[in-house]
Subunit: 413 residues, 2 copies
């Protein structure tokens, strides 16, 4: 079964919007065994869209169009589809009702031109749109199907899940599906991961391994083509076992799990509370920790001590340390971590101090120099790093390594 | 002059990577007056790529391919291009030297198969790649051109800027270019902006206006086709003037400016310092403020008071307030703002307290209830909001409104 996806919209061709819809549909199709072989984008141009639709419906079994379903004159999808398929537009009462109620619920005046959206090609099935006014369209064509979806991801995603996947599963028989499983690592550079799994990266055939690096984080993605869930799991397990053996201590999670979630789970499991003193990260570590729902259970407080005065008055860093070693020093980091642990009455105190740049660096203490200290019970661990990159890169990298420091100590502790 | 862009890579069709290259090239082409009329993506499949290349070179003057230039067997671009154009591959000494030196500089052992990258179609111009080993290719074809670029954005972006744009400017005469100018607004919902600029959104012709909404922020993008920079500026100014007249107090910046940058500029201009007490935003506001380089000039400190105890012990919120009104209350927000202003000895104190969810809501105080208080000199302003959305949406919305509250008060004060 071959599928392809067409996005419609001049704003995409101008590069004003990043298209995440195609990727979403592709992943969903792969999971149910549908091969997406082509992605295309055309502008709001009926002639070019029509030509592309004709060609796509010749070579593919399932054709998706995304966008151009709105009520304005720029929205050309329905009319172009109707002409290309020679199917007249018919008035759909149900959609008209939905569109009216959409405006009524919002207490907006009803714009009469919105009724345009109630005209759909004859024979179309119209999945409901709970978020916007544009209905989805499923247009069966003998043994093929044309599926038209609205462009905003918040509207498209639920329609795909609720209506499109069941429809395709019912009408198309896929023998194999493709799914991916990710292993997420922190505290290890991409090059080192690469060396350790080199042989696995060269795999070809039904199961392959890909490596994706982000700031302070590496993702190993196992993609497998299989005929059944059982076969898929077996394929994946073989590689996962090898990866775990070689890289176990760096693995913090799988699939969509974030490092802050992994830290949260460990804090809860170990019944430990956390307090954070940040300088150069400016609140990012606390922000990430509190992105996890339920984090109020273990996160007690954070202090962003951007000035020396705050380091002294709030965190109790002795002025002698600041004078002798400076704010960006191992000594200051230790004092900050002890200070925040104490005032928050927490089990764990962590601190970061450094120079995020672009200004503020000196020859002795360059931009990118960062100290991280973890105080847990009576133990303390200090780390020194020299990062390169822009201000935000340094903030993100520092937050990654700070979170990972908490993680590794909770696992080993 | 018509252009189109082809991305090559099965990982794109599987939705494993988001393609930002097409947008980048499209924006750059628009700026020099080249219309990009199509985007396509195919997998690592020579047959499908070849068919698409043939069609693209018939209908477009400039064809870009992105990706598939690496040294592995999956990298099919060069060979497919060579076959499709019937141009034999020739060994390019210069590239071979670059590839060798790439590995030498990194002290990696030289992988002999990397020399594959030194074979390029006859007649190709090869822009240097300063980041990776894959050279770019400019293949002139009578009055057309095929341009092959490496997939990683860090490699593609500099080649486009340094080599591709000058080449195209020299060989293709564009009479008009397209450029955009954005006006950014905060503190006003999209629907209201929409109502106020309705007439401008309907403009057609050489200058158009688009509206893009993000969490707590609206972007108005003016896109204009013009023959000269002077004409472009005149076109844009006409609309900008109208927008400013109608929405002036909500406009915080233009183009890529962020709300935290706008706040930073105002703080510096007014010579005011800032301290932040956060509860439900968990550090996000401080994180955003400190994303701006030079923020240490005006940002004194932040406290993330996630527990009642911290609100009392650090920020000095009286226990009676917490007992009588609760932590999520106007009274607590005011006390937090006053407290942080005092302990930081800052000119401005701002506080947020609320329920980000998904847990923690009650009938009286539901998820999404947020109080924001700003204390500036002897004045204080309190706001109450009821947001809907997920935990992170509520955090982002709250941070937007808090930053905007600082902004509007600095402008008016």
């Amino acid at each position: 079964v071959r599928a392809e996806v067409i996005s419609i919209g001049t704003e995409l061709l101008l590069g004003h919007i990043v298209d995440t819809n195609k990727g979403h549909i592709s992943r969903k199709m792969a999971e149910i065994g549908i091969d997406v072989l082509r992605h295309s984008t055309v502008g709001d141009n009926p002639k070019r869209l029509s030509a592309l639709l004709r060609r796509s419906l010749l070579r593919s079994d399932i054709v998706f169009t995304i966008g151009g379903l709105g009520p304005t004159v720029d929205d050309i999808t329905v009319e172009t589809v109707s002409k290309t398929l020679s199917r007249k537009l018919v008035f759909n009462k149900q959609i008209a009702k939905q569109v009216r109620s959409y405006f009524k619920r919002r207490r907006y005046k009803f714009p009469e031109h919105s009724l345009r959206q109630a005209y759909v090609p004859e024979g179309a099935i119209c999945p409901k749109n709970d978020v916007g006014t544009a209905p989805g369209l499923i247009i069966p064509l003998k043994d093929k199907v044309l599926i038209c979806l609205p462009g905003p991801p918040v509207e498209l995603v639920p329609i795909v899940q609720r209506d499109i996947i069941p429809y395709i599963k019912k009408h198309f028989k896929a023998t194999e599906f493709i799914k991916s499983h990710s292993i997420r690592l922190a505290g290890i550079p991409e090059a080192t991961v690469n060396t350790r799994v080199k042989d696995l990266l060269k795999l070809s055939g039904s199961t392959t391994l890909g490596i994706y690096a982000r700031l302070g984080e590496v993702e190993l993605k196992i993609t497998s083509k299989a005929k059944s869930e059982k076969e898929y799991k077996k394929n994946v397990k073989k590689i996962v076992t090898k990866i775990r053996k070689r890289l176990s201590s760096f693995i913090y999670g799988t699939d969509d799990e974030s490092l802050e979630e992994a830290v949260g789970i460990l804090l809860k499991r170990n019944k430990k509370t956390l307090a954070i003193a940040e300088s150069c990260t400016g609140g990012l570590i606390s922000d990430r920790i509190t992105n996890v729902s339920g984090s109020s259970k273990y996160f007690k407080m954070g202090v962003i001590a951007y000035s020396n005065k705050v380091k002294t008055s709030i965190l109790g860093v002795p002025t002698e340390i600041l004078k002798k070693h400076g704010a960006v020093s191992k000594e200051c980091a230790l004092s900050m971590a002890k200070g925040i642990k104490k005032i928050a009455n927490a089990d764990i105190g962590i601190s970061v101090t450094g120079i995020a740049g672009p200004g503020g660096g000196t020859k002795k203490k360059p931009v990118g120099l960062v100290y991280i200290t973890l105080v847990i019970d009576k133990k303390n661990i200090s780390k020194k790093y020299l990062f390169s990159g822009k201000r935000n890169d340094i903030k993100i990298l520092t937050s990654q390594l700070a979170l990972n420091l908490i993680r590794t100590n909770l696992i080993n502790g």
